[in-house]
């Protein structure tokens, strides 16, 4: 499903403003996001990007912390396997995050809230698509209450 959800569409829905934190590797996905920008592709402002050198820099506790602090969805984006700037980084990401994703599902977190994908520096379009897609799905799911710290207000 690929829904082009513009800012306006999301806004209308009952005041729920999802927050999505995206960890993007510097060499591919962050550059892909830049390309989405230079191509003026539209995706909602709910997605906020944190730059990391490589997808293999993303620790499981960064993901959980984002959920704890109120993120409704988390994305990790890195270079396609075989294209890692650091040769092997995303191969480790692939194993680590496959397991983490399954583990989160296993304790009952909705699958769509945690997205990992490979987005190259030339895939500005794909970047915007993935962001829109995740946002649309998370929007359907509603706010993340399962992992959120009850004391945290945003």
């Amino acid at each position: 499903m690929s829904v082009i959800a513009s800012d306006a569409v999301i806004k209308k829905e009952a005041g729920f403003e999802p927050l999505i934190v995206a960890f993007c590797c510097n060499w591919c996905s962050y550059a892909g996001a830049d390309l989405a920008g230079t191509s003026r592709l539209n995706y909602p402002a709910n997605i906020k990007i944190i730059r990391v050198p490589c997808s293999c820099r993303v620790n499981a506790n960064f993901v959980l912390r984002a959920f704890q602090r109120g993120a409704d969805g988390v994305i990790i984006a890195g270079c396609h396997p075989g294209d890692c700037h650091y040769m092997t980084g995303n191969y480790y990401t692939r194993r680590r995050m496959s397991l983490l994703k399954n583990l989160l599902e296993f304790i009952g977190i909705e699958e769509a809230r945690f997205k990992i994908d490979w987005i190259s520096a030339s895939e500005g379009n794909k970047f915007a698509e993935v962001m829109n897609d995740v946002l649309a799905k998370v929007h359907q799911l509603g706010p993340n209450r399962k992992l959120r710290d009850s004391r945290w207000r945003r």
Partner: protein, 331 residues
């Protein structure tokens, strides 16, 4: 077991007398019938109180990390499951193999005192004998025959390594694998949960995690949790607070399980020691199951020279998140 116990004592005495080892880690009988707690022996005379019975469930290998052991030659009694833990500690460079003498003990299973109580077998209990496939609980009035499956720890019922996988000296006869229930069943509880809906799975785990009192016993007993300083204790990073807060309970348990992924030997000690009865082994086994299915069968602690699944990769590895949804089995 009595016969072997005497043999063990003799070997331990000799080892201490000949200075083959400076001290030996073993078990000692406590006050109560189910108490066989860890103890270390440095002198021949003390060895009389050494015990080897069906309550010696404690894995002793993590005691090897104690500062007190530094610079000493240590002997240790190990069961099959303990040797996996030992190997894992060797792989993590926490133990120097050459400083330790391993006395391997084949084990056909350990008795869970809770199950004994539940069956009412503890009343007036004098001793427990083993004959063939059966256990005999002897009390003042009668002898009750019991099948091991009724009273053994759950983890022993799915044990795959009854015999030590590494030892310097084996004491007693090796146990045939068939005497134990099949290893295959070890993922059945995980599979049952996988079958549930997302909502029900969350309800289950939410209830389990909310019981947690953050005593950290699961971490402290775990042979894969052997860090000098645990990340949860890192005051600068503060990834875990001290409040009794549901999200932090989940954070703790997920990260704990994740940190032992690929190194958990599946000894089941975490859930055994949990005072709140949280089934932590299900988290560990979920990760083991996924690793086996996605990246090939791997048993942590079997061979320290093989790289663990999270410190290696294959070019053609599968994943659980890209479009094809390959390798995903969960609902």
């Amino acid at each position: 077991m009595e016969k072997i116990r005497e043999e063990i004592k003799e070997i331990v005495r000799q080892a201490l007398a000949s200075k083959e080892v400076d001290l030996i880690l073993a078990w000692e009988k406590g006050q109560l019938w189910y108490d066989s707690y860890p103890a270390f022996f440095t002198e021949e005379q003390g060895v009389d109180s050494l015990v080897w019975d069906q309550f010696c469930v404690n894995n002793l290998s993590k005691y090897l990390l104690d500062d007190g052991m530094a610079g000493q030659k240590v002997g240790i009694l190990v069961k099959g499951c303990d040797t996996l833990a030992f190997n894992q500690l060797v792989q993590d460079n926490r133990i120097i193999r050459d400083n330790v003498v391993l006395y391997g003990l084949p084990c056909s299973g350990m008795i869970d005192p809770a199950k004994v109580r539940r069956e009412g077998l503890d009343r007036g209990l004098i001793k427990i004998k083993k004959t063939g496939d059966q256990l005999i609980f002897v009390n003042k009035e009668q002898q009750i025959k019991v099948l091991p499956t009724q009273v053994y720890y759950d983890k022993c019922l799915t044990c795959h390594y009854p015999n030590p996988v590494i030892y310097d000296r084996l004491i007693g006869e090796k146990v045939a694998n068939e005497t134990l229930a099949t290893h295959a069943g070890r993922f059945s509880a995980v599979e049952e949960l996988e079958e549930l809906s997302t909502k029900d799975r969350f309800a289950y785990w939410d209830q389990q995690f909310s019981k947690c009192i953050r005593c950290l016993a699961c971490r402290n007993i775990c042979p894969a949790c052997s860090c000098e300083q645990c990340t949860f204790d890192d005051s600068e990073l503060e990834i875990l607070g001290k409040a009794k807060e549901n999200s932090e309970d989940k954070f703790f348990h997920l990260i704990r399980a994740y940190h032992v992924a690929g190194r958990c030997v599946d000894c089941g000690e975490c859930s055994r020691v949990c005072p709140q009865g949280i089934p932590l082994e299900k988290l560990n086994r979920k990760l083991i199951k996924d690793i086996n299915e996605l990246y090939g069968e791997y048993q942590a602690g079997l061979d320290p020279s093989i790289k663990g699944p999270l410190v290696t990769y294959q070019l053609e590895d599968t994943d659980t998140f890209t479009a094809g949804e390959r390798g995903r089995k969960q609902k």
